[in-house]
Amino acid sequence: MDRLRAAATTEPGRLRAIGAVLAALVLVFGAVTAWQTTSRADAADRVLNRSQPLSNDAAAIYRSLADANTAASSGFLAGGQEPAKVRERYQRDVDRASEKLATAASNAGSDSSSATAVSRLNKLLPQYTALIERARANNRQGLPLGGAYLRYANNTMQTQMLPAAEKLYKAENERLTADYGDAKPYPWLAIAFGVAALAALGWAQHRTFRRTNRVFNTGLVAATAAASVALLWLLAGHTFARSGLNESYDRGVKSLNVLNDARISSLKARGNENLTLVSRGAETVVVGDATKDKFDVAYQRQMARLAGAKAGDKGLLGRAAELADDDAGKRPVAAAAANVTEWKDRHKSARASDDSGDYEGALDKVIGTKSDRPTRESFDNVDAALDAALAHEQREFKRAAEDGKGAMTGLPIGAAVLAVVGAAAAVLGIGRRLSEYR
């Protein structure tokens, strides 16, 4: 106790204490900075390399499944032997879906809603493809049983698989938002310790000046400089990172979300358009007081989502056009919108044929060859345009997110090194004053 009291009352004792406190403050500042920036850099890295690609994969799974179902119904419409192109498209969709499901499975935690959705889809996909194969086998023999299997498969897809895929897509998007949330907050604690360290260093220097009339203590000045650099680096690096991440969200993720929704809507609309002809009015719904074809109603609903139902409602494509911030992004969206308009016109004409009893004419206008001006062509154009728009926005996202992540490169290690240097300098500076008492 006496020694402690002596340490507190004598000048060398005070100096020792001050040195220890200064070194500790600078070291804590460095450590907190390293910790907080590491966690933010990790989150930024997860955004770029994990959660965004996974959200993209989930969208691809959803899209592939919807597209496979559409291809299957197209093949059925075409007759006993489906066209090779349609079969290839179906196969490609199924391959892509199972491949992306495997990645999603290895990345989904064991107890998350993603994991539940993935395992559900993993179970349902082989069941679905088995039903489609049975449909094909019966179809080839000219048996209507094939159509019954197709309906069963479609039902499985619509009521079980697509909802599960949607759940997965939403869960992955939530994870992405959460990672953004982890990467962006200011590292207040580190900043506070930085400010505290600088304040303490300033106070110590002022004290030395008052007692010795010496302006500079090299060690303390060096420590102040190191701490200042670290603090400025922290502020600048994080601000740059934040702006990069914000840009990647605003210019990339937002557009990607709307475009993915638009693409899924267009796929659903196409699937329903096909099913209108497959089912031939076999399923109806009551809208208001009118009985309408169930699949045509669903088609209309998806088209309204895509292009807007009434004046003032821009629809998904209108929103995508607003979000697109350069020509390369706007062009494909505009092309998609133009093709949707064309698609609607052609669809109207196909429905008119069907309603007047010209089923084969209607069929030609939906899946026919180029000279029939089929809606198939419009749909393919919409799909290709949205694909191009998605690819563009994905590049925008990647560029901005990489910039953001890059702004934090070296910050944790740099801060740690500067803190050690600063703490050492402070101790040396105080040590010089202390040596004057020996």
Partner: protein
Amino acid sequence: MGGARTMRTRPGETEQHAATARRAARPRRGLAALRGWGGVASMALACLLAVALVLALPQLRGDNGPGGSGGSAAADRLTQAAPARADECEAPERSLRPDTKDGPTIEKIKQRKVKKLVVGVDQNSYRWGYRDPNKGVGKLEGFDIDLAREIAERLLGDREAVVFRAIPTNQRIPAIQSGQVDMVVRTMTVNCDRIKDVAFSTAYFETGQQVLAPKTSDITGYNDTLKGKKVCSAAGSTAETALKENSFGADIRTTVPNQLDCLVRLQLGEVDAVVTDSALAAGQAAQDPTVELKGDKPFTTEYYGVAMKKDADDLVRRVNDVLDDFRKDKDGWRASYDKWLADDLGDSAGPPKPKYKD
């Protein structure tokens, strides 16, 4: 980033002291009231609080998940289970006497912009109304389709003047009542319940309910062997009504939009047996050689008729006139039977005799 790098060269340069000191001084002034460790601690506490606040703020979740529109709107189920008592309805297959006069219903059809008869049919009943994917794209064919074309030819002078609308079993009556179709030619049984809602032509085919099950099954017919088995029927069909009256202890919860959907369930092992009209069951057996009709003969006697709107007397009489000739005509009933049904159902004694109520 760039700014931070140039800063790194400064520590050694003492002339920078003033600037550094100024930077250091600014926060210090703000903290003048807080001294020593207590100040640092309270500041750290304040920082922690701030961080906690930031973390606690509701996160902006900007995901726009694709809208779920599976199109799963369950088909409205129409069940008319109450069995009619014999005293209030006898021989429901009696219809109106044939007549060739055009009445308001026929006039309306003839005045259409597109002069075509809209007929509700099935596209899943093998040999009756179905689509053969290998023959012409989207062409429907079968016994019912032949009859529908025959009616169109006699009414409008053109076998092609028909719009076929595929209709699920339980939508046959609503489709007629709402005017969605002019008539239903779709293996539709005439019975006491249905004549309350729609009008029928005279009978054009005799059939009855029968059980269909795998050849290896121990089910022997509509009897106690059904106990504990899962049995499938089409929603709104006479089979469903029969099973509700007496299921022999079977699980009859599986009902589907179309009798053919029962064969899918049977093949997938979801049900053990199917109950449907023998004429349709034969069509199912023709598509799957591992199943067969159980029992020697159907356990009910039923007649198929063409269903029309309840008050469309002119159309009913006209269709009965067509049916009269269809029964007699060498290229009519007999030809269609031989073409579509003889293979599965064997020889036929001929069409049922028409019965009239007026």
